[in-house]
């Protein structure tokens, strides 16, 4: 078994046991990136210092330092996060080559836990999109079918993990940017409770919705990453001061669970649309049956205001984004375009923003500026905030009837590159299942539910829990993962195309 096919937790164990060095593990992943990333294009930047960082961890370990469970394990980082020594562009031309003078809090926590940053992953520009097609640096490709999207905005992180270029990655989720890519690439992704993970150093899209979270190939690995990056950060005022339980412990408990007796699982009626792709609908209901067969009580719940979620989201997000993106004006950092013949500072700002932002970014800045304008504020931004409150109430009453809620993680499997790029509304609707959790600030997990019979592509299931109850996601997610893999006889991602010469899975054949 190649080093790069192993999970983060197993690599962590091997590293702790001295069976392998971080330099070896890191080199294996760098080799894999070199072999497949020309096709996948998950990375915008590969960390030239990765092997040095790995060597430093090896040295710490050989000096007898007690290290965490993922010390020495490589990780890919979404380009929305600020990283010392590596460009951080958020997928935008306007930040091309910008190297921040500081690490995002989550990155600093990874480094101090001994994880090795492999590089920065591709994304839709400023996390605006569901396909990575809005990246200024070209789209990423889905490892299951290179003609298809890997989801977005965090398609790069999901593709990197699904293509075995990295065992784990960080993403950010504003309306589904972790969960939807996980769903369409057959990986696991978690959007924590709002405030559970620091946003300091995450280039803001919509401050009241953004949340950083883990991407991985199994539930336990996401939990291990979450344990490292989570917890209060005094630099983020919206960061919760809660003491969090170990999510890895919750995942292990879930994986070992004998039965789901007493667990109430709510199916959100409004998110179980017959309009969703047939294979998505089928695999989702098979997963429900499996849960029920193992003792879970399946209840139907209704969230009547979810109908308005996408509309409210596309007012709140652009409004906040229009303000958050105002700082990209060429004065202090990033691209500067001087208009022909020079001009005033306003002319330079305008020329820079015209050249530096892509169409989708401009579209949302214009939308948001309009929504916040005097005379329109109450009708648009104000009403959207009211919808948000109603959605929070829907969740509150749903959680009175169920411990967790479930839905398909995305309405479809991965669509073809170019298919929806000229239809923004169709693209926006792809997030219909994931957006409500962001509006309510609750945690959500996307994990594989199988392959759709009609196209053989991954289908994802979403689990949602009440705010601060992230541990429930890991516990139930790990149980469901085990039940499904027991049923299939293998992991879903073991069925992904190998992409590279050498047939990485030659030794372990199996059918879905």
């Amino acid at each position: 078994m190649s080093l790069f096919t192993r999970t983060a937790s197993s690599l962590g164990e091997m590293l702790a046991a001295g069976e392998v060095s971080s330099v070896e593990v890191t080199q294996a992943h760098l080799d894999r990136i070199a072999a497949v990333d020309a096709d996948v294009h998950a990375f915008l930047h590969v960390n030239a210092g990765a092997l040095d960082a790995a060597a430093a961890v090896d040295k710490r370990r050989s000096a007898g330092e007690v290290l965490g469970p993922l010390a020495g394990v490589p990780i890919a980082i979404k380009d929305v996060l600020c990283t010392l020594g590596m460009p951080s562009t958020a997928g935008s031309r306007i930040l091309e080559g910008w190297i921040p003078p500081y690490d995002a809090t989550v990155v600093a926590r990874l480094r101090s836990a001994g994880l090795v940053p492999l590089g920065k992953t591709n994304m839709d520009e400023f996390a605006m999109g569901s396909s990575t097609e809005h990246s200024a640096y070209g789209a990423s490709h889905n490892p299951w079918d290179l003609e298809r999207i890997p989801g977005g905005s965090g398609g790069g992180s999901a593709a990197a993990v699904a293509a075995f270029e990295a065992p784990i990655a960080l993403g950010s989720d504003t309306g589904g940017s972790i969960r939807q890519p996980a769903a369409v690439t057959g990986s696991v992704g978690v959007k924590p409770t709002y405030g559970g993970v620091s946003r300091y150093g995450a280039i803001a899209l919509a401050s009241s919705l953004d949340q950083v979270g883990p991407v991985s190939r199994n539930v336990l690995d996401s939990a291990l990453v979450h344990d490292i990056i989570g917890g209060h950060d005094p630099r983020d005022s919206t960061s919760l001061t809660d003491q969090w339980p170990s999510f890895a412990a919750a995942a292990r408990e879930g994986a070992a669970a004998e039965s789901l007796k007493g667990v109430r699982i709510g199916v959100v009626k409004e998110l179980d649309s017959p309009g969703f792709q047939a294979g998505v609908h089928q695999r989702f209901h098979e997963a429900l049956d499996l849960l029920a067969a193992n003792g879970a009580e399946i209840v139907e719940v209704s969230a009547p205001h979810f109908e308005y979620a996408v509309a409210a989201y596309y007012l709140i997000l652009p409004a906040e984004a229009s303000s958050n993106l105002a700082k990209f004006d060429s004065v202090r950092f990033g691209m500067r375009v001087n208009p022909p013949g020079g001009g005033t500072v306003e002319d330079v700002m305008a020329a820079t923003r015209e050249a530096g932002f892509g169409d989708e970014v401009k579209r949302r800045i214009i939308l948001g500026t309009y929504a916040l304008s005097a005379g329109y504020y109450d009708a648009y931004y104000g009403s959207a905030q009211k919808v948000r409150t109603l959605i929070q109430r829907d969740f509150a009453s749903a959680f009175e009837q169920a411990d967790v809620l479930v839905s398909p993680a995305a309405p479809t499997t991965a669509f073809k590159l170019g298919e929806k790029i000229n239809d923004p509304l169709a693209m926006y609707l792809n997030d219909v299942t994931t957006i409500p959790a962001n509006l309510a600030g609750i945690p959500g997990m996307g994990l594989p539910a199988g392959l759709a019979p009609e196209d053989g592509l991954p289908v994802g299931i979403q689990i949602m829990a009440p705010a601060r109850e992230d541990a429930r996601l890991y516990k139930l997610g790990a149980t469901l993962e085990r039940l499904l893999e027991d049923k299939w006889g293998h992991t879903l991602l073991s069925q992904a195309p190998s992409l590279a010469p050498g047939e990485m899975f030659a030794a372990e054949s199996g059918a879905v």
Binding site: Y102, Y200, D329, V331, V345, T369, L372, A374
Partner: protein, 503 residues
């Protein structure tokens, strides 16, 4: 137009926005030092530069200071107040939005008592006091005026970006009439007294710690009379907002100027443009700034990076209990403590130097000496130079000067020379006395020698004194003072001469 004529035709309506920079250790939303002198762009963090990914964190001390100020202004303190983003593009504004407060300020609806030199007392209605961050500082290079128009390029220093501010906004102030300029000055002076007494700001106007934007509009007496007769609401004229008013003196002058300017335009049938005006200290005039319409759209919305500010009732009460005496109460107490007549105390009030005089007294000077020097010689020099008296010398130095006078070490004439030295930066009064050799000679030896010499030159003087013509001593005293180059105490010389006559 002549000021009296302007007031005959029009009624002035005032409004003020005073910005107070708080003297907290760190900035409003970052842990950078709250200090904006020095090398440009050194007291900054990623937050102050608005770097991507950076986030603000509210300075707790600034919140406490703001609450104290709100309480001192007689305001209600909001149980929950919120920050909001004020969106506009300007290169001194790192994020291209300012974190301020909009519809939920920390303090609202208060009142401040202001007393004028003529004894009139006004209650100035306070609409709100809210927290916000300062912007960076632009320096326009090239071009004649140092302003943005005509500049070749501009430099920006973000050391000031994020300095905590409280903006105090008044309601409309009517009824000041002729006293409008003086009221403006007295109001700003009162705010200054309040923040100084709270210890929350350095409150130096010339350094921009305290900044006043003065709104003024005129309405014609005829239109007011017509509205009253018709039972309609009183009309309001178009207002201007004068900025860059950097001293108490300028506040008064700027209001007076703007009343006259607007009156002349209106009287000639013209209209006032709603705009900001820039005050020029040198010419004593205002010039047009940018147009300012009520429709300026800052697209305010609640700042999603910050939680609402929710001070506990206990905190508010503890800050209320810790408030120093209100300036109006304090004025009454000081007047009585110091034993000043109405006229003397008004003199102090009018000078705007109450705080300085009080501090001088606290260092041990007598109230009368403190008043005499601050409102006399120091004010005279300040007036000559067109600066605020408080910028020339510290209360500690004035108290030292007074002590030297009261010990008999200095005469008033010598003290004026010492003062000149202190103002010129030569050191403390004692140091100046040493360096310039100005000390009064208190040892009688050299005096007696000088008297002997003077008497030898004017032998008839002692006779005249003995004959009862005591004023004849003046000639000798004058000669002695001259010989001693002013370092002699004239009273002592006189005593010695009279003693000699009796021998």
């Amino acid at each position: 137009m002549d000021y009296d004529k302007a007031l005959e035709l029009f009624e002035p309506v005032l409004g003020f926005e005073v910005h107070v920079e708080l003297n907290t250790k760190t900035k409003m939303f970052s842990d950078a030092p709250n200090y904006f002198g020095g090398e440009p762009n050194t007291n900054i963090t990623p937050v102050d530069l608005g770097l991507p990914g950076s986030l603000p964190v509210v300075n707790e001390q600034a919140v406490k200071y703001s609450i104290s100020l709100g309480l001192a202004l007689g305001c209600s303190i909001a149980a929950s107040s919120r920050f909001a983003r004020k969106n506009y593009f300007y290169p001194d504004l790192a994020k291209n939005y300012q974190i301020s407060q909009f519809d939920e300020p920390i303090a609202y609806e208060g009142s401040v008592e202001v007393e004028l030199a003529n004894g009139r007392v006004f209650q100035i209605p306070i609409e709100r006091a809210h927290m916000e961050e300062d912007a960076g500082k632009l320096t326009h290079v090239g071009g004649a005026t140092g302003r943005i128009q005509g500049a070749e390029y501009s430099l920006v220093d973000y050391n000031r970006a994020g300095v905590p501010l409280v903006e105090i906004v008044t309601h409309m102030i009517v009824g000041a009439e002729h006293d409008a300029p003086e009221l403006a000055k007295a109001y700003v002076s009162t705010i200054r007294d309040i923040v100084v007494s709270l210890g929350i700001s350095d409150a130096k106007m010339e350094r921009g710690n305290l900044r006043c934007d003065a709104n003024i509009s005129l309405r014609s007496r005829a239109s007011v009379a017509a509205a009253v007769a018709a039972g309609e609401p009183l009309p309001l004229g178009t207002r201007t907002e004068t900025k860059n008013v950097n001293s108490l003196r300028s506040v008064e002058r700027a209001i007076r100027y703007e009343i006259q300017r607007q009156a002349a335009i209106l009287d000639a049938g013209g209209t006032i443009t709603q705009e900001t005006r820039h005050w020029h200290e040198d010419t004593g005039q205002t010039s047009a700034g940018r147009p300012k319409s009520d429709a300026d759209d800052y697209r305010y919305f609640p700042e999603p990076d910050l939680l609402p500010v929710e001070p506990s009732a206990e905190l508010i009460e503890s800050l209320r209990l810790a408030l120093p005496e209100a300036p109006a109460v304090r004025r009454k107490r000081l007047k009585s403590d110091w034993g000043f007549s109405d006229l003397e105390f008004q003199d102090v009030q009018n000078s705007g130097l109450l705080v300085e005089i009080e501090e001088t007294v606290s260092f041990g000077a007598s109230a009368h000496q403190a008043r005499k020097w601050w409102t006399g010689e120091i004010a005279r020099v300040a007036n000559e130079r067109g600066v605020d008296a408080a910028t020339l010398i510290s209360p500690k130095d004035v108290s030292e000067l007074v002590a030297l006078i009261e010990n008999g070490d200095l005469t008033d004439r010598l003290a004026r020379q010492v003062l000149e030295g202190v103002i010129a930066g030569e050191g403390t009064p004692t140091a100046v006395v040493e360096a310039r050799g100005l000390k009064v000679v208190s040892d009688d030896g050299p005096l007696i020698a000088a008297i002997d010499e003077a008497l030898a030159a004017q032998p008839d003087v002692l006779e005249k004194i003995r004959d009862g013509k005591v004023q004849a001593a003046g000639a000798v005293i004058g000669a002695v003072m001259k010989a001693m180059k002013g370092t002699a105490d004239a009273a002592r010389v006189r005593e010695l001469v009279l003693e000699r006559a009796q021998q």
